[in-house]
Amino acid sequence: MESSMKRSLRRDVVMPVVLLAIITILLKLTYDAVDDVETFYSLTGWLLEATLQSATPLILAALGGMFSEKSGVVNIGLEGMMLIGAFAAVAATYFLYDPWIGLLAAVLAGGVLAAVHAIICVKMKGNHIVSGTGIILFAAGFTTLMLEVIWDRKGISEQVTALPTVSMPFLRDIPIIGVAFDNLSPIVYLTFVLVIVSWYVMYRTPFGLRLRAAGEDPSTLDAAGISVEKYRFFGVVISGLLAGLGGAYISIGFGLPAFGKQMTAGRGFIALAALIFGNWSPLGLLIAGLFFGFLDTLQYFVGFVPAWGWVQSYSQFLQMMPFVLVVLALAGIRKSVPPKAIAVPYEKEAKA
């Protein structure tokens, strides 16, 4: 127990240090390449901003995945829940003219789809992977169908009002940070708050303890007189709420505030990768999510540095980094410890 804790501590320290070192080297190289302080500052600021922007949906969905997987239910349907969230946000904003209602609708839509997953996996003891596949297929088909029904268009919906951004005038004069935090969406800040809240809920409240017990050792939880099904249901629904929020961020949080066909583009799977790479812990997935967001940004970043134009023809390798890293992590560079009873439907013995 002692040694495993030590190992986990070392793991939590080693990964950020390595990542920081990589980023420092990269920044140094950038500085050498552009050779101009002003350009360097604005480039770095842009890199930071874009990293935060593309990491936010990943972190939110991964956080959702954590709630589900910690309670013992595999949720590969995150992609579908994000997609339906992105759609619901745009549709609700379009009809009711208020992006905040759109945000609420996105969260609820993700939650409803997750409830379907929960009913199938927890109540009906169905196969988690099959159900997740069904969720993804259904969400992809349904959102594209509704895109055509509501706006009568094929690829992308009409533009709606975007969520307002938070500007920080007092930061504007600080070199890098001024550029980065100038107009970020409030969801970005909310994400960091949610990570901390999730950590607190997960490790410092009875609810979190029971949720984790449902995923680690359900029969003990059951023996303590607490319903395993209830906590697993909660875990899955929370995951849908968070994934829906992440989806809303993709559609009305940044960039063009409209819904595009298949607009989540595999982010749900990258979120799953971040969750595993971050070892199912809030802090770990935060770092992994930021790192994957950084990798995602890097492929556009190299376009801005003239000396690095050649990297762009290898951008696919940057994109596949999250997936390769996860496979390597699972192959044993780092020991990943999933919840013990994950993907095992819990059956009360007395039922037979």
Partner: protein
């Protein structure tokens, strides 16, 4: 065979024993036993035919078929509701779909070809207890390998297609073998690794097609490889579309069935899939079997990619597959992981695809309706207990009628309440579009839709709380009518629905409570 017997015993214990059903089953069972007995001394071929026929008479054989059909029917009903809500005519749409698919049956088989192979891939791996959700990546690797060999080396007709197919299968097999090894020797969960390697493969082939292997020439923006030589093409065998890949797929169905049911390797894999520890104790090496099974599964998916490139696309296009690997999961699930089941399920999905075009042209329903249907089918198949529950409750309900023959008023009122709750849910769904009436109106209609379904489910379970929910819903209808006053929506109809629902709920509440035989607590 022991697994089948076990299932049989399990089935008999939890099956509802209604008179007619049990009589038919007993008779069938007698015929089956007679058949098996009479075939005892017959020569080999006849014996096997008779034994197969006997197998067809068991419930174990029919149960997955009935389950799959049930799920398909539920999915069709749900998608009809979705179509109606979206403002399409579901009857026209479905008849266009069926007509269109039947008129171009070669297209049905054409769409089914890759699905058969990817479905087999997932099903084969599933038999050894693993989940291959990365068939998409193996398919891409296979198609890339076939595309490269198709244009790089000139070979004579007849040999070239086979070489390309084999290379495609090999590439897919290698891409499946990798997660297999990781699973066997490092314990890396195959669901995660196959999924992640699938994306890696898609991006890697994209890089190849956009970079080193890009077709030289004027179409600079297209990420595609050079066209394969004519010698490497699979010939078209029926109509304009269906290519010889379909024959390959059919052969694979039989080969997979043979491997699984008639070889030592297949036996070992199934043993590992059923109980890894027990298999290991019995002297079977689970690690070897896991890795091998994922490799063979990958090979089947790679074959799907190769046959698509050689028969249909004739070159590798960047991201050409519309999720064929994912669809393989749905095929395997609907086909109950049985090779022949996969074949039928793939034909069914091919039918939907081929009919989807006709549906789009004649009923103007977007083609995405097909993937909505596909997702719904999977969701319904994923929840076998849902179907069991519905079947049980419906049987129970039928029994209630026969028990209360003398005083059928209570079950009839219940049934009517159910019908009105369901209709109300549907009607309020269609009101969700009236956005000009404001948030309260939409909120209440949404509440009615959800509560209506809840009431229906509770009533189906013969839980009297459903009547209370139904009563609440009728109040909501009155509220809705008040809000919608003077804005052009049909208030009279809303009040009518609310009134009928209220009267029915109160009546049945009185009956249930007054009759003194409350069904509280549900079934």
């Amino acid at each position: 065979m022991s697994e089948d017997n076990l299932q049989d015993i399990g089935d008999q214990s939890d099956e509802p024993q209604t008179g007619l059903v049990s009589k038919i089953r007993a008779n069938l069972e007698r015929i089956r036993i007679n058949l098996v007995d009479s075939a005892e001394d017959a020569p080999g071929l006849i014996k096997s035919i008779v034994l197969t026929t006997a197998k067809l008479l068991t419930w174990t054989f029919w149960k997955p078929v009935v389950w799959a059909l049930f799920s398909v029917i539920l999915a069709v009903i749900t998608s009809a509701v979705i179509m109606e809500i979206s403002g399409y005519n579901s009857y026209v749409a479905f008849s266009a779909l069926i007509n269109g698919a039947l008129r171009q049956f070669d297209r049905v088989l054409f769409f089914a070809t890759p699905l058969i192979l990817t479905g087999l891939s997932v099903a084969f791996v599933f038999k050894s207890g693993l989940f291959n959700i990365g068939a998409e990546g193996q398919l891409y690797m296979g198609s890339m390998a076939a595309a490269i060999l198709g244009y790089i080396i000139p070979l004579p007709y007849g040999v070239h297609p086979l070489v390309c197919l084999a290379t495609g299968a090999l590439a897919g097999a290698l891409w499946g073998f990798l997660p297999g090894l990781l699973k066997a020797y490092r314990g890396a969960h195959e669901v995660v690794t196959t999924m992640m390697l699938s994306y890696t493969a898609i991006l890697f082939t994209q890089w190849l097609a956009a970079g080193p292997l890009k077709e030289p020439g004027e179409y600079q923006w297209n990420a595609q490889t050079t066209r394969i030589l004519e010698t490497a093409e699979l010939p078209t065998i029926w109509g304009n579309y269906l290519h010889a890949g379909f024959l390959v797929a059919i052969v694979c169905v039989f080969v997979v069935a043979f491997i699984l049911n008639r070889t030592v390797m297949g036996y070992e894999m199934r043993a590992v899939g059923l109980n890894e520890t027990a298999a290991e104790t019995a002297g079977i090496n689970p690690k070897k079997n896991m890795a091998l099974s994922l490799a063979i599964g990958g090979g089947l998916a790679g074959l799907a990619g190769a046959s698509e490139v050689q028969g249909n696309l004739h070159r590798f296009y960047n991201s050409w597959s519309p999720g064929l690997g994912f669809d393989g999961i749905t095929v395997a699930v609907l086909g109950n992981n049985n090779p022949f089941g996969c074949f039928l399920a793939a034909i069914f999905f091919g039918f939907l695809r081929a009919g989807g075009n006709a549906m789009h042209q004649q009923a103007h329903v977007p083609i995405e309706m097909v993937s909505v249907m596909q997702g719904l089918v999977v969701l319904f198949v994923a929840a076998p207990r849902l179907i069991q529950w519905i079947a049980d409750q419906s049987l129970d309900y039928g029994k209630w009628f026969s028990v209360e023959k003398a005083r059928p008023i209570q079950p009839i009122v219940f049934a009517l309440s159910m019908a009105i709750a369901l209709y109300g849910a549907y009607f309020s769904f269609s009101l969700l579009g009236e956005t000009q009436l404001g948030l309260t109106f939409i909120g209440i209609s949404a509440a009615i839709s959800i509560l209506g379904i809840v009431a229906f489910v509770l009533l189906l379970a013969r839980n009297w709380r459903g009547l209370i929910v139904s009563l609440i819903v009728s109040m909501c209808w009155f509220a809705l009518a008040v809000i919608g006053m003077g804005s052009g929506v049909d208030i009279g109809f809303m009040i009518l629905v609310g009134l009928v629902q209220a009267v029915l709920s109160v009546l049945s509440l009185l009956l249930v409570k007054g009759g003194g035989q409350s069904k509280g607590g549900g079934a």
